[in-house]
């Protein structure tokens, strides 16, 4: 936005007098204005350049305003852009239809400049707040969660999904952290998380929590995967590989190596947003989640990097050959659990 007030506006009107007049009015109000003479051209411009607001006429050849509204609302990249309809179309029907199609406002031509200025100001302010919100979501949530939020909106509560949960953390992190300066630890953690996030994302998972040196990732929700268990295990293998590469660098820089432990469990769980309407997080809840966490803790005693449960093991493709460790009594579990190592 220019000088804090003006916005970048696209004006669509097939009538030259209307177009010139509106453009003039808007420029005098401090906005930057581009114009298009029909809906088809407007959509091309919208998809090519970024605009803060669309001023849309309804009656146009080639593609009318209703069609433009439909396209804008169906396009994830455009649908948050405010649209103000300016039309001299008769009848309440068209006003109602525009509002139903998601138009922010409807102004009758000839447009009153004072009213236009006020409506545009209000719409741009709303857009600015929405952009800010989106930026927060983008920064603090996994991209898949951000997209899920944009598509289906935010609602607390979950739904049952079949998914795999992965827990990972750094073995012996506390003595490591104590042995070096906090700045170095932060740097180490940032590198570690970069590698871990990458390994999760490249197999279609999302990181739902990070705490200290541990992370929890979900495979199969909110985005469905053909084989979440296989994806989780492959992600774990990639993590181990990344850490080995990282350790080569650490050693050559005279810094300590790190080891990680990964636990994976699969099955039915409830996935969704938990928290309050003000602050919430996308997560999974269920026995499967606890099991994955226990398996990760057990990697230390088992002296294995990756441990998985029987459900995960059954879903693995034949190219992976896990080793059966037999039934293990895990902390917090009343019955012993079949554990497999990779």
């Amino acid at each position: 936005m220019a000088d804090g007030h003006g916005g970048r506006l696209l004006l669509v009107d097939d009538n030259k007098v209307n177009r010139l007049l509106l453009a003039r009015t808007l420029e005098l109000a401090g906005h930057r204005v581009a114009s298009a003479e029909n809906g088809r051209v407007a959509l091309e411009m919208l998809r090519r350049d970024g605009y803060d607001l669309l001023l849309l006429d309804i009656e146009m050849p080639e593609m009318d305003g209703f069609q433009v509204l439909e396209q804008v609302r169906g396009d994830l990249a455009l649908r948050d852009m405010p649209v103000i309809v300016t039309s001299s179309l008769e009848g309440l029907d068209s006003v109602v239809r525009c509002i139903e199609l998601g138009a922010e406002d409807y102004l009758t031509k000839p447009v009153n400049p004072v009213l236009l200025k006020a409506r545009i100001g209000a719409s741009l302010e709303k857009k600015r707040l929405r952009d800010q919100q989106k930026e927060f979501v983008r920064r603090f949530a996994a991209p898949e969660v951000a997209q899920d939020l944009q598509q289906s909106g935010f609602a607390l509560g979950g739904k049952r999904v079949h998914a795999s949960v992965l827990f990972a953390d750094i073995r012996g992190f506390t003595p490591l952290a104590e042995a070096q300066a906090p700045e170095e630890t932060i740097e180490l953690l940032n590198t570690y998380y970069t590698l871990m996030f990458d390994a999760v994302a490249s197999h279609g998972g999302i990181v739902s929590h990070i705490a200290g040196d541990g992370l929890m990732a979900i495979f199969g929700a909110p985005v469905e995967l053909a084989n979440p268990a296989d994806a989780a295990v492959r992600s774990a293998l990639e993590m181990i590989e990344m850490i080995e590469l990282f350790n080569v660098e650490q050693t050559s820089a005279g810094k300590p190596e790190i080891r990680i432990g990964v636990g994976i469990a699969s099955g039915e769980m409830v996935a969704g947003y938990t928290g309050t309407n003000e602050r919430a997080t996308y997560t999974c809840i269920g026995d499967v989640v606890n099991l994955a966490s226990r398996l990760e803790q057990h990697t230390k005693a088992a002296k294995r990097a990756i441990l998985v449960d029987a459900t995960t093991r059954r879903a693995l493709s034949s190219s992976l050959s896990p080793e059966a460790l037999g039934a293990v009594a895990l902390r917090g579990k009343t019955q012993s659990v079949e554990v497999f190592a990779l």
Partner: protein, 115 residues
């Protein structure tokens, strides 16, 4: 003088909010576009194309109102809403009425911008 064709309050408001020079340009644009709209009305009527007729009347109405040509705006509005049937039964008289009102409007606008 045909100034009665133009509502001065609307016209002066336009000048005040967008500037003298700009209004002159805008009038020139209208005087270039409006005869095409009238041609379009006649052509759509001759070809019995109701949708094109309605759209041309709609544009004329919208632009006429912008300059305060309220009578022309009203005539165009009747064309837009009435469709082709009343035109046919009146042997195209409503189109002629709009055309002659436009002649008064264009003369008035030229006087206003020159003045």
């Amino acid at each position: 003088m045909n100034l009665s064709a133009i509502d001065r309050a609307t016209y002066d408001g336009l000048v005040e909010s967008t500037g003298d020079e700009f209004v002159c340009e805008l009038v020139d644009t209208f005087l270039a576009e409006a005869p095409r709209m009238l041609d379009e009305l006649r052509d759509a009527y001759a070809k019995d194309d109701a949708e094109r007729f309605r759209r041309a009347a709609h544009s004329l109405k919208s632009n006429a109102n912008t300059f305060g040509a309220l009578t022309l705006g009203q005539l165009a509005r009747e064309l837009e809403l009435g469709g082709l049937a009343p035109i046919r039964s009146a042997a195209a008289a409503p189109i002629d009425a709009a055309a002659s009102e436009y002649a008064r409007v264009s003369q008035a606008l030229e006087e206003l911008t020159r003045g």
